[in-house]
């Protein structure tokens, strides 16, 4: 009897359901007491200082955010009176930011701890007093330029110059309109190669929120801002037909780049925001070069694994981190392996019920059993795992389910999931080392989201899979 119960308890412990805290430690960073810190931007500064910008236009600098004891964190107010910065970074002694009316850089020239010099680098886009004309900016790209996405007026019109466009601003302040078709950005970031991505929210001409690739010269799907091409003698962007599909319209228009990763509405968040790439070389887990995507409404961070097929970005999104205290907006990943994020839910609800938050996440060093990557193949998909999989379960076709669908590309708000099919998994071949499974799938649909659900597949060690779902956007089917 005793032996039996001991065995049972150890077995139960080994098979305990994975918890986020096993793998990632999420902590709130104390904020200055009594201050309203609706965080729109986070910048990492030298000497382990962190700057945040709030929606009320204040800029604060924090010391101690990297330390073990967050009770020792101190704050100093650096500046006030900015106009909603979304996108801030430190470069050569200046704090740069993209705010609603302009790209600025600010500095404390006399060393009293408070900013005194505020330079306007570029203010060449239009704003007219509409609250929805937001601007989100990046850090410098590989050429030193800042990329900015300009939200549509009222999220549906284009009443000011360049709304609906992504522009680049050079360090000297020259604005280069670069991509059209933007609707309502929530955040931006680069991948390991330095290519630029942004999140566009579900709405007009956007069936579901997505991570989109800003290929220079591309059209992203929403034609409302097209008319501004004349201001810079650029060719007219595509005019897609409402009621069609991205797949159909992009076949007509070579500059129409499809979303890299669709984040199915409601299933993978509702309002994606900041993007960072894991180039920490293993300090935050095994997700090398994958993107983390923050989520305002569901207070989460998702994980996206991208690849290029036929010159187009596509890939899978997996659920990753959750339980943040407010809606997340900016996202930063320090090379030492700490994620800093913050946000607010003012005006748009979030699952996290606090009005604002500032948090950090660290890896505990324990790797969860997960799908590490999911890549497209000519006849299906190939999965890799973070540790060897239970070969028998992974070879069992009954443990895999796939559904596929797409969205209507239409001028009205959002879209239901349409054109649904159930592609059939006809073979699951596990590699000798148990780290790969090659799935043969019958009925994959080019251009559709493919939702893969794994059940009853544990690691060879007995560990349960933490997130057994993947959502792959299959823009292109590789030839080999």
């Amino acid at each position: 009897m005793k032996f039996f119960s001991l065995y049972l308890s150890t077995a139960l412990a080994a098979f305990a359901a994975p918890q986020q805290s096993d793998f990632y430690q999420r902590q709130e960073i104390p904020l200055p007491p009594g201050e309203i810190m609706e965080i729109g931007s986070v910048a990492l500064l030298p000497e382990q200082k962190v700057a945040v910008a709030t929606r009320r236009g204040d800029i604060w600098i924090c010391e101690g955010a990297y330390g073990e004891d967050l009770g020792k964190v101190t704050w100093k107010k650096f500046a006030q009176g900015q106009h909603e910065p979304f996108g801030m970074f430190w470069k050569d002694g200046w704090l740069w930011m993209t705010q609603r009316p302009e790209v600025s850089r600010i500095k404390d020239s006399d060393g009293d701890g408070v900013a005194d010099t505020f330079e306007t680098i570029c203010d060449d886009w239009g704003i007219n007093g509409d609250y929805h004309e937001y601007a989100f900016g990046t850090e410098p790209d590989k050429e030193g330029n800042i990329w900015i996405t300009l939200c549509l007026t009222g999220s549906g019109g284009a009443n000011s110059d360049w709304r609906g466009w992504a522009v680049r601003v050079t360090p000297e302040g020259k604005m280069i309109p670069t991509c059209s078709g933007i609707r309502s950005p929530g955040g931006m970031g680069f991948n390991a190669k330095g290519d630029v991505f942004y999140c566009d929210n579900q709405g007009l001409w956007n069936g579901s929120s997505s991570v989109k690739w800003l290929k220079p010269g591309s059209f992203q799907g929403n034609p409302t801002g097209n008319k501004y091409h004349t201001l810079a003698n650029l060719p007219a962007p595509p005019e897609p037909v409402s009621g069609s599909r991205v797949e159909t319209e992009r076949a007509k228009f070579p500059t129409f780049v499809p979303p890299a990763v669709v984040l199915p509405h409601g299933k993978v968040g509702q309002s994606p925001t900041g993007i960072v790439c894991d180039t920490t070389k293993g300090k935050f887990g095994p997700w090398a070069d994958q993107l983390y995507v923050a989520e305002q409404c569901h207070s989460q961070i998702q994980r996206a694994c991208l690849e290029e097929v036929n010159g187009i970005y596509q890939g899978a999104v997996f659920h990753f981190l959750e339980g943040f205290e407010a809606g997340l907006i900016p996202l930063r990943l320090d090379p030492s392996g700490i994620i800093f994020s913050g946000g607010s839910n003012r005006g748009w609800a979030s699952r996290g019920s606090k009005p604002f938050t500032f948090e950090r996440v660290k890896w505990t060093g324990k790797t969860p059993f997960e799908m590490l990557t999911m890549f497209a193949k000519p006849d299906g998909f190939e999965l890799t795992f973070t540790e060897p999989v239970d070969a028998k379960a992974a070879a069992d076709l009954a443990n895999y389910k796939m559904e596929a669908w797409t969205y209507i590309l239409q001028s009205s708000y959002g879209s239901p999931e349409v054109d649904k099919t159930s592609p059939k998994i006809t073979a699951a071949t596990v590699s000798a080392d148990g780290l790969k499974v090659r799935l043969k799938v019958d009925g994959c649909v080019k251009g559709h989201v493919h939702h893969l659900t794994l059940s009853n597949i544990k690691a060879a060690s007995g560990a349960e899979m933490w997130h057994p779902q993947a959502f792959y956007t299959l823009n292109e089917i590789p030839a080999k």
Partner: protein, 511 residues
């Protein structure tokens, strides 16, 4: 053994009792699509910042009303269970099919104390078809006209209105008059509009309204005069003939129960207005007793008045009413305030007293622009402030041949700004500071530097109420402008300063 056999029998019978269908799970769909804003418990997410659905008359009764909201969205103020919300519900009609909408509404109408009939997919389909041409969000007002809330109590109960024809230059003694019309007002709102534009009348209304215990702030605004009496006591009064915008507010402690409302009003001539409202202690929304909802005074945000400290100016960069979108506000110690336009490169608004209420932009989505909070707001210009002198001869040029760039600003230890404007290779430093004393002044210094390709002129005043112009000074409303180091010239009502190579000082004082 016996148990097991009967269990088998029971499960065998199940398929005939509950046939598995393709039915949508309304509860799951609600969680997926609606709970983020309306809350898992239907009480509105984030501590009630968002409207509740639990026990809400909006989602009960006639289902048309809620079907329409789900299909096309709702924006603008909406009152739910006594609290006003002003957010935006995005339309879901294009994203959710009829059967999912029906399942969600059926779930909502039977949850958290709601007891209303289910909604069918056919019903949603029919409403969708009937409103197919609708492209815009609904407003609460539109929907309440089409589908009034069932069992909704009117704001004022048993309201009777009395109309008196006559020429009144002050409030009459109604006990001495005989009414020309007496009406029951079932909508329960004080409303003069049936008699609008007929100059020369007075009106009086009496009715009852309920309050819980607590302090209630009443507000009254009118054109021409009005009085508000609660339980027979005069609470607010606007005595004289004049326009709306003379808002009066007064707080009264009331006990739980019904109270008597009496509103008196007279209209001598011209425009008409009458708004009567009540704010509960701790609430941001105003419950209107009148059809008129007042103008900018109907704030639904908490006031966050920005004030400078004793020795440092405070800044506000946001949409300030009266200047361009790139407005930069400064509130200086000494109660002198300005709004500089970074589009037109000039101080466009000057005012005294309070600086600005940031509560508008710092609440919910912060929609719209916010006017200066203080007094004597003077708009001294609204055009691009720099032009080539040769083009500013007989009129201030309309276009933008100068193409100046806004280069930002520096702040000194007191928070006083120096803006930087660049025109070609020439730069202009435009500094501001307040000098206190018996006549506080805003002192502006323009310092040019660099090579001027062509001489440049500065617009000091555009087509305002210009008075007493001399080469060194002029007046615009209450603001006196004095120039040192340059000469002012006047062209078609504009005051222009031709800039040279040396600094020019401009003093703004209030008379």
């Amino acid at each position: 053994m016996h148990m097991r056999r009967s269990l088998l029998v029971f499960t065998a019978g199940l398929p005939f009792i509950i046939a598995p269908t393709q039915a949508q799970d309304g509860g799951q769909l609600y969680t997926l699509y609606c709970s983020a804003c309306h809350g898992a418990d239907g009480n509105g997410a984030t501590g009630g910042q968002f409207p509740p659905l639990a026990k809400s008359p909006w989602v009960q009764g006639n289902a048309e009303r809620s079907i329409k909201i789900v299909l096309h969205g709702l924006h603008g103020p909406v009152e739910v269970k006594g609290k006003t919300y002003n957010l935006e519900m995005p339309p879901q009609g294009a994203a959710l099919p009829d059967d999912q909408i029906a399942a969600i509404l059926t779930h909502v109408r039977a949850s958290w104390g709601n007891k209303s009939t289910p909604v069918s997919a056919d019903q949603v389909k029919a409403t969708r078809g009937a409103t197919a041409a609708r492209k815009e969000h609904w407003t609460a007002e539109e929907l309440l006209k089409l589908h009034p809330l069932e069992n909704a109590k009117p704001p004022v109960e048993n309201l009777i209105s009395y109309y008196y024809k006559g020429s009144f230059q002050s409030m009459p003694d109604f006990s001495q008059l005989k009414p020309d019309a007496v009406e029951e007002e079932p909508m329960g709102l004080v409303d003069y509009s049936p008699y609008a534009k007929t100059d020369g009348f007075a009106m009086m209304w009496e009715g009852k309204f309920y309050t819980p215990d607590g302090k209630h702030e009443f507000c009254l605004d009118s054109d021409d005069g009005a009085r508000l009496l609660i339980d027979g006591q005069l609470v607010c009064e606007i005595k004289a003939i004049g326009p709306a915008g003379r808002l009066v507010k007064k707080s009264v402690a009331l006990k739980k129960g019904m109270h008597q409302l009496r509103v008196e009003y007279f209209e001598f001539a011209g425009e008409e207005a009458l708004s009567v409202g009540m704010k509960q202690q701790g609430s941001n929304g105003i419950k209107w007793f009148s059809k008129d909802k007042g103008s900018a005074q109907s704030k639904t945000w908490p006031e966050i008045m920005l004030t400078p400290s004793a020795d440092r100016a405070v800044m506000y960069r946001n949409f300030i009413q009266g200047t361009s979108a790139r407005g930069i506000g400064f509130g200086f110690p000494g109660e002198i305030n300005m709004a500089y336009s970074a589009d037109r490169l000039a101080p466009e608004l000057l005012w005294t007293g309070k600086f600005i209420d940031a509560g508008h932009h710092w609440t919910d989505r912060g929609v719209g622009d916010e006017p200066p909070a203080g007094d004597d707001v003077t708009r001294i210009s609204n055009k691009l402030a720099y032009a080539f002198t040769e083009e500013a001869g007989t009129a201030w040029p309309a276009g933008n041949p100068v193409a100046p760039s806004f280069r930002g600003y520096k702040l000194d230890a007191k928070g006083n700004p120096t803006f930087l404007v660049q025109i070609g290779n020439q730069r202009f430093l435009d500094s501001y500071a307040v000098v206190s004393g018996s006549t506080p002044a805003l002192v502006r210094t323009i310092t040019p530097s660099g090579e001027a390709a062509k001489p440049v002129s500065l617009l000091l005043l555009s087509e305002h109420d210009l008075q007493t112009p001399t080469a060194q000074s002029f007046q615009a409303g209450k603001v006196k402008v004095e120039v040192e180091g340059g000469a002012v010239r006047y062209v078609t009502g504009n005051a222009i300063l031709d800039l040279k190579n040396s600094a020019i000082t401009i003093r703004y004082t209030w008379q």
